[in-house]
Amino acid sequence: MTDDVDAYIAGAFEHPTREAPDKSIAQLHAEVAAGALEDAGLAKDDVDGYFTAGENYQVGRYPPLAMADYLGLDVSYFDSTDDGGSAYVNHVGEAAAAIAHGKCDVALVTLAGRMRTDDRDQPEHDDSILQENFERIYGAETLPVYALAARRHMHEYGTTSEQLAEIRAAASHHAQYNEHAMYREPVTVEEVVASRTVSDPLHLLDCCVVSDGAGAFVVVSDEVRRQLARECVAVLGHGAAIEHHDAGRVDLTRTAARDSGQRAFDRADVGPADVDYASIYDSFTITVLQTLEDLGFCEKGEGGSFVEDGALKAPHGTLPFNTDGGGLCSNHPDRGGMTKVIEAVRQLRGEANPEVQVPDAEVAIAHGTGGYLGTRHAGSTAVLGRVGR
């Protein structure tokens, strides 16, 4: 399985903060950069590749330039592909490709955001200027467009609010063991459904947390990996896709995960049945349900029954997911893709919280969704594997 692996994740670090009014965004980037490098056993001057997305409104228009300056990086390869929350899962694939082509050997990927501290009273603007004139005027922003996807899925497949609530309940079960999680209190299906309706059919507890935070990981070549004392995680495969309006024939029950997942699984030469642990982007419960279907963990339309009866609960569910509590309960620092990668790495290295560690996890996936299920979004899937040393 690891014969043709080009790249490995050698270090990962999640900032413990969920509220950082006293830190700048650049400072958060730097703190997690230092944490991930220390975790890998690498020094700053080993870094010759740098990836960060373009969300850093406090950093400036050209984030890789500003942050390379701030961090004092001397890099031969850099990229700031910004596809929203999926960007950091995309950076896994992009870093692996850059390493495979000899562009760099040690790629640092960082995220920082202050979604909680910074002013949230400003009207939300879609970052896609082209289309926003046909959307913003109707009040189409994040929450209601995901609700549209949930409505259509319920209409076509009979999915229920209780089934969506199972996803939050499982995430909250995991979050109770994470001392850094924003919401650690376990909630029941009944409590989720009884929470305030914010955009029907979605309830308040169908939505992710709003947090500050940061995270980083380091992707290295095989040559570098062999010099490290640290157990590394193999990047077995990666795939990306974009799902959009399709010239006005939008299908709200289909996500980009269908194509990104297939591409990643094909490259890794494994399938959904081989996956021991899944990090699934969880901006909303409906995001998880549709992603599970499109990644092939169940048939289309059967996500509702799949998640029932604790299937997603670690350590013994059919498919343990988001064992840090995920975006729904732990951390969603503007974008959730970074924490998806980090928890998958923890699982494969046996470093998740003991109560939710999947025994002998060999294969994990991290899936990011960037943009909006109800309009246009990117899907990015990374298949990761444990490496015996």
Partner: protein, 136 residues
């Protein structure tokens, strides 16, 4: 169920005819003269075959609700005008259009509800916004 006047969209040469027609009470679609696709939102080149041979056509202005939500939270939207019914309306010509269903209670809307276009004003008298209401 309304917010008037609506924000004025940014008008570009590519989309100006669409907004001007709306001010006259007409809903326009684009039709590719090469592959016959009728599409929304408006673009100068066909999103299916990339042909630039595209013409404006008048839509019938009728359709059915493909998906909807009554949302309680919209940034900047006056609270007294909430909930807002956001919907995808599948036009009779085929395209699904993100829009609002106005002048109805959220409990009156269903997937499959029959709707027809109407128009709400903006601060710019030459620009109106197409929305939909239930056909009763």
């Amino acid at each position: 169920m309304s917010w008037e006047p609506r924000p004025v969209p940014e008008i570009s040469p590519e989309t100006a005819p669409y907004w001007a027609a709306a001010a006259e009470g007409r809903l326009l679609l684009c039709e590719c003269q090469d592959c016959d696709l009728q599409y929304y939102y408006p673009r100068a080149r066909c999103p299916d075959c990339l042909s630039g041979n595209v013409e404006w056509i008048d839509a019938a202005g009728t359709g059915t609700v493909y998906a909807y939500t009554a949302t309680e939270i919209v940034s900047g939207w006056p609270e007294e005008h909430l909930p807002l019914v956001l919907a995808y309306v599948e036009l009779d010509e085929g395209p699904r259009m993100l829009t609002d269903v106005v002048d109805c209670g959220p409990d009156e809307v269903e997937v499959g509800s029959s709707v027809e276009v109407t128009f709400v004003d903006t601060d710019d008298p030459d620009v109106a916004i197409p929305v939909f209401e239930l056909r009763r």
